[in-house]
Symmetry: C2
Subunit: 152 residues, 2 copies
């Protein structure tokens, strides 16, 4: 099913701006900050972008998450998305080096028991470290004890 139809199926008009945003989010499986999207679509109005993301979120097309800096990010909802609380069923990874954030769709949030009278509704799991690309780059920049072919 194409992007235009996916947007329309949620009762939203498939405007050019929406197609651009939804297209970008669909192609990569990353969680984008507002700043990142603004940089990608330089002539898109700031407020329009806020509203597009809000509308997408309400429609269940994207989910909102916060990175290790507390900044808001948006990512596409996987097709197996149960709806509004999609973001809560999988783990997110935030790279300390490049700052990018990834949805690890395949990794479910773990089970956890907590004491006291707390009634658990859900959880957010945010893992941080360095992504594959940044791992490689740091190895390339500061080779320590590697064989030649690993340095590349």
């Amino acid at each position: 099913m194409d992007i235009v139809q996916q947007i329309r199926d949620k009762g939203l008009k498939a405007t050019p701006a929406r197609q651009l945003v939804y297209g970008e989010l669909t192609r990569s499986h990353m969680a984008f900050s507002h700043a990142e999207l603004e940089a990608l679509f330089i002539d898109m109005d700031r407020v329009t972008l806020y509203r597009i993301l809000k509308d997408f979120e309400d429609a269940g097309l994207v989910h909102k998450v916060f990175d290790t800096q507390g900044s808001t990010r948006f990512a596409i909802c996987h097709h197996t998305c149960p709806g509004k609380h999609h973001a809560e069923n999988h783990v997110h990874f935030n790279c300390n080096d490049c700052g990018k954030m990834f949805c690890l769709q395949a990794v479910q949030t773990p089970e956890i028991n907590i004491p006291g009278g707390f009634k658990v509704a859900g959880m957010h799991t945010l893992i941080y470290g360095s992504c594959e690309k940044c791992n490689h780059q740091s190895e390339t920049n500061f080779p320590v004890n590697k064989t030649d072919e690993l340095i590349e």
Copy 2:
């Protein structure tokens, strides 16, 4: 050891404002938002409060966490705190009803395996639901199938 000495031990002056903030954070084991602290200390300058929290964080007296809304919160570091990354070794609970956030010092962040080339440095675990107090209140307000003594 008293509050004044704990602040001084980190190389900070134990000013009245700092004693108030540190005292409050020490007594309760909650993670306070900036707004909550401003409300508690109405005649404390906004900027001073920001700087106190920043200094405490740098000194390892408190740790910064984000709640389910992405809002910044600060909580005391437990005495077994390993230092800068204290916040990462225990789980936090955020009440959906009253909005309060609790440090569950006794609950360690779980182990988790993720695929791909990601290099894990740590994780944040944020559980949400309703706290003990709010559980009770909702039972009191909307009694369904309870015995009398439970409704109280």
